[in-house]
């Protein structure tokens, strides 16, 4: 379980334009998040991306809130709605 606790699902959605993957993943890598899986498509001009990210830093609860707030700020800037869910909460639901 310890491993799962440090993993999050990130979902981003919005109008497609160049730079969205770069802008989201740069925040992730800045916070030492390692993208383990990623899937991204553009459907009728709408950008949809989902990924599973492992947070490499130990203090993951603080990290999680930092990641969430930085991503939502970044999302506002580039016109994306970005949500972060700890994998743990999804699996035990």
């Amino acid at each position: 379980m310890a491993e799962m606790e440090s993993k999050v699902v990130i979902i981003a959605i919005g109008k497609d334009k160049p730079g969205l993957v770069a802008n989201v993943t740069s925040v992730v890598s800045e916070l030492m998040g390692n993208i383990e899986e990623l899937d991204q498509v553009v459907l009728q001009g709408i950008f949809i991306m989902s990924m599973i990210v492992k947070l490499l830093n130990l203090n993951s609860s603080k990290k999680l809130s930092e990641l969430t707030s930085k991503l939502s700020k970044q999302g506002e800037k580039i016109g994306l709605k970005i949500h972060v869910y700890p994998v743990k909460t999804l699996i035990s639901a």
Binding site: D16, V21, A22, S29, N34, I35, E36
Partner: protein, 314 residues
Amino acid sequence: MKKRTIIVTTVGRDRPGIVAGISKILYKYNANILKSRASILGEMFVMVMVVDVSNISVSLTKLLSELKDEGVKLGSGISVEDEKTYEEKKKIIAFDMDGTLVNMEIIDEMAKLAGVEDKVKDITRKAMEGKISFKEALAERVSLLKGLPLSKLEKLKNKLELSVGVQDLIGELKKAGFVIAIITGGFDIFANYIAEKLGVKYVYANKLEVKNGILTGRFKGNILSPEDKLKALMDVAKKEKVSLSKCIAIGDGANDILLLKKSGLGIGYKPKKVVKQHINTLIGDEDLRTATVFIGVGCSQIRREISRFVKARR
């Protein structure tokens, strides 16, 4: 307007920053990622992107060159292909020897034995960087080796170090039914030895002239030029009854450029600077197993999945 797309495949040891690094460059030049998928397979991180380059702000060459540099920086393998290269099944693979199959420049080791190391190394470096003609440089170096006994070269054979992952890669290629060739500006006695060890079918190499067990400092027959390396591959293709577009070449030096450019898939292995601009696929780290993803062997389910993924868009 018809969209112009490229497929960018990045393969490497898993670590943070690969997706960010590649996508940042695409963004910088207004390339749009239409679709991407990444996952970790074993220890390797594999990412495929279908990228729309119809509206990029620089030339495609410039964009590709920065992507390749980033691949090297990240220590990953990277390939930028159009869909056609992607889909064509390959049958033949030609390896360069020195610096590719073997983790050293053998001629430099021979020079050590002959006590002319510095002189020879200097010429080798200039030749690999393309500063002097390959033929000229080789003839000059071989003349410096005059008097070296064959018995010493026999001992050198046992010291040859294969590059990381060579055996695994060759094993997977064989399983997939590939015909394997060594096409090298290096020397026959080593190329034949390695070919036997690895089970390689064709060998094209320079033949050293030997008299009474001693190198004469001359060649037997003509020296293999870069053009001859290409001719050699064409020869293999003809014998195996396939076209050059079904051939793969892997090499690192200036004398491989022609071969890498003209074959169906040219892979630079830790390519010299002068080589990088001519290729669309390169391995920036030590591990030759990275090539399996680009070729589609071994972890072939990856390639199949990638292929399905690439096609599924339309």
